[in-house]
Symmetry: C2
Subunit: 339 residues, 2 copies
């Protein structure tokens, strides 16, 4: 019986061996599409010449499906880590990239993902400088998982810190919430809407850099509202800063299609994941200027509430009719593997 | 029917939600056992104050079994990335840590792994400064996968580069090969030997720092012989430096038990993974001094061969009887998921 032929169009365990197949996969895909002067050194690690205070962040991406309306796991993996660095007030510079691939994964899909990674890195202005590729047996993964870690240089005017948050500070978000989560859910549930819901995956570093360029340390705090949605990120913030938050219900933008999809599936958009929404906390006096700047940069920003020491640790949602309710923390899992 | 109770002793999808269960897992395990001044900031990324030229590296660890003789996946994940940085001539400083956990994974095992991570980080003198935890459904992972990425400061006397390698340079390794791979294989195959074979997982940064302290840029090149073993790492080096390598067969140390296990399983120790072996390439004139220093530091080093421009790209194994054979690159996968 002839030795089992290695199918050319699938990734298999040999590609994770560290031997010839690994070398070929790296040369044919990784080094081909991600080439840059640092990655090209092909060392175990990258040599970086970088000055200033740094931010360092990591995230693994296990989203399913890996291709979705508005993006794919590769693009998400770049944007997600770029954004985490941005939320530290850093200018993202370098990313690492590590794949865990399930045996049998389609080679063409892998190439498409790597190409998206390159495109997203170019758009954000970062280099992929070092990486790793592992292959696990069928049934021990799910197509592909990606980890990116990133290094950024802290903007010299930035002083983003939980302790910088002041009583009365305004909360501003850059655009409508819940698109990413509902794009993924629509895909999973096979829902059709008049217009497609697209993930809002995007790099936020250019927006953040502009904000800090202009407002410096008046930008007190930044955080992107990813897993667990806006509600979860606000709960994290209130837990850490020992103050509460008042939200203005009718100022929190949700696109019509997204709202419909949420209602259909019985989901509260406040808990639905975003991949391009961030919360900016800054003095009320400059809130409108921040909205103006973000609007000029093509966003649809909104002042959604303010920080209040009178509701320690709580997130209070106020309707335009004066109704109030406490937004509870997310218990359990609303949408598994959303990022 | 009552709502399905969440078993306290297993990790489930809720722990990956970004909500309350995630926060609890982080507080009860991650922040508890890995606490340090930088991680304690609990931001999306870590703020680092670091000077000099940097090295940056990443690796995902998918080893099975996750607990093995001589170590576990957590310890391995720290040592592996510490070692990759060391091989760049860097002094490792900061690691990121990202988990992909399969639903149903034992909570106690998770705690044990995190404790090992702390112990390994302390031993290597690095901080875990930022992290991520994802949970995937049962059958979409295999207990736990770990990514670590690391940042190190290049030793000011170091100039480790493939172009630094000179014709005639000696190859020195620090101790016997193939222990890690055979420890894992023995475990998988249920083999018993008179004395147990232990993985050689260890942090190499202290050894490398001592070497560079003493020999500076005379240390031309360093690489750890992990996945694919000594043969694969030599093939990578020869492919990049456009020279070849002569190996002295009887100078390559393999422990007796390891040799027996290799013979039993029909494996060539040259291709078997190590987690604590590195190849140091340096001028022949200082090879004995390097051996002396490594010996003083508790290693069992050996001069195993030299670089030769006369055998471009080839790895030639010479026996003490004058026999020669070409060591071929590793084709296919010898030991899947060895790291």
């Amino acid at each position: 019986m002839p030795e089992k032929e290695i199918k050319k169009d699938k990734i298999n365990l040999h590609h994770g061996s560290g031997g010839e197949h690994t070398t070929k996969l790296l040369n044919d895909v990784i080094f081909k599409y991600l080439a840059n002067p640092i990655l090209n050194q092909k060392h175990d690690g990258a040599f970086l010449d970088i000055q200033g205070k740094l931010a360092f962040s990591t995230d693994s991406y296990v989203i399913t499906p890996i291709f979705f309306k508005g993006g794919n796991i590769g693009e998400l993996a770049v944007n997600g880590t770029v954004n985490d660095l941005s939320m530290c007030g850093a200018i993202p510079k370098y990313l690492s990239l590590a794949f865990i691939i399930e045996e049998g994964f389609d080679h063409d899909d892998f190439v498409e993902i790597v190409k998206s990674i390159r495109a997203a890195a170019d758009k954000a202005g970062v280099y992929i400088v070092t990486g790793d590729t592992k292959v696990v047996q069928k049934g021990k993964g799910d197509k592909i998982y990606i980890n990116t870690s990133g290094i950024g240089v802290i903007h010299e005017k930035a002083n983003i810190h939980i302790d910088s948050i002041q009583d009365g500070d305004a909360l501003i978000i850059n655009h409508a919430i819940a698109s990413h989560g509902m794009a993924i859910m629509s895909e999973r549930e096979g829902l059709k809407f008049e217009s497609e819901i697209l993930s809002d995956t995007a790099n936020l570093n250019k927006l953040v850099e502009s904000l800090i360029d202009k407002f410096g340390n008046q930008i007190h705090f930044l955080r992107d509202a990813t897993r667990g949605g806006l509600a979860s990120v606000l709960h994290e913030i209130t837990a850490e800063c020992k103050m509460g938050v008042h939200l203005f219900d009718d100022q929190i933008p949700v696109d019509t299609q997204v709202k419909s999809a949420c209602e259909l599936l019985g989901l509260d958009p406040l808990y639905v994941a975003n991949e391009g929404v961030f919360v900016c906390i800054a003095p009320n006096e400059i809130a409108k200027d921040i909205v103006q700047l973000l609007g000029d940069l093509g966003e649809s920003p909104s002042i959604i509430g303010n920080v209040s020491s009178s509701v320690n640790g709580k997130v209070i949602l106020e309707s335009s009719y004066g109704g109030k309710r406490v937004v509870s923390p997310l218990i359990g899992e609303q949408l598994p593997r959303i990022c």
